[in-house]
Symmetry: C2
């Protein structure tokens, strides 16, 4: 037994990882990514900072785990990809808008965008996650020779929606309802997924 | 005459504004937006900090002026809007990629994206600039009842390209050539500008 304020839990016991995550989630939400230190998180969770590194690798890794816990983007996308690709934009946009408009999920997501702009380590994790969890899985669902660039174009447009509406909050996107966004962006998203694409010029 | 290292220029003389801009441009580029202080800029330019505020209002205003000097987005867009809307994506994308790939312009632009994520004052200026200089002017060029949401959708997609390729550097966009981006994103951009849009559900 140690004498920290949170007695009775041993480092390495099954709930320690969850407890670190819960403390980190509250702190990141309250203070933003840049202001939180691993040392202060460790103190609040009543564990050694080395244990946080053991479980999560780095602050960026811990933050990624908090986001995963809050959102499960893989589960979310998995459900969306089971439906018809033709209707994916009108199913995805309301889900995305609801998630970002809700402070419980939107605040950590916006913090993630800010962390990606300021922390190269977190940007690298986000880059990898976007490619593996979104682009690759969407490309697999689309299939065919153009799948990868269709998926890239689609994810790019979804990123543009997040940037314009949430990070910069520029009009007209900032004030649109989910229905209005579906009408404005849906056709372009469907074009990226399913529309005719110009033939690539091959340099053999 | 004062005794600062840069003697002979009087505050308020015609070249002071340009001199402040030149110093600010070099410093923002070297150190990024957050690290530069108005006080240190004033010292390097050999002027009083109040004079910088007089000319530019705030650090955000000074940075916006540096970007304007580096890029003249209004001139750039003006030229692009004179051509056919049908070919706007294939004319815009190579210009945008060249501008962001070139460190002389790309480094301050990336700093602007970071400043928009960290400084609410700069985000407000960017938000206003995007709306007045890009969305409104593009909507005017498009014309018709859907002009505003078409322009919003188009600017959103261009924002997505910047976010995905430059801020996060996610694949497949990060490694594409300008031609490949035109092929992947061009059809969706044309759909936003000129394609059929679903009818709005009116709630009268």
């Amino acid at each position: 037994m140690n004498s920290s304020p949170r007695r009775g839990r041993r480092p390495g016991s099954p709930d320690v990882r969850a407890e670190i995550l819960a403390v980190a989630r509250a702190r990141f939400r309250r203070e933003g990514y840049d202001a939180v230190t691993m040392r202060s998180l460790a103190a609040e969770a009543g564990v050694d900072a080395a244990l946080i590194s053991y479980y999560f690798g780095s602050k960026a890794g811990l933050f990624a785990a908090v986001l995963e816990l809050t959102l499960s983007p893989a589960d979310l996308l998995g459900g969306l990809l089971q439906g018809d690709l033709e209707t994916l934009p009108q199913r995805l946009i309301p889900t995305l808008v609801r998630t970002w408009d809700n402070p419980d999920t939107g605040v950590p997501l916006l913090a993630a965008m800010r962390a990606a702009a300021s922390d190269p380590g977190f940007a690298a994790m986000l880059r990898d996650g976007i490619h593996r969890q979104l682009v690759e899985r969407l490309a697999e669902r689309i299939g065919g020779a153009d799948a990868h660039r269709r998926a890239g174009a689609f994810v790019t447009q979804v990123g543009g929606l997040i940037l314009t509406r949430y990070v910069i909050a520029a009009e007209p996107l900032a004030s649109m309802t989910a229905d209005e966004i579906v009408r404005a962006l849906g056709p372009a998203l469907r074009t990226a997924l399913l529309g005719p694409l110009p033939t690539a010029r091959r340099t053999s």
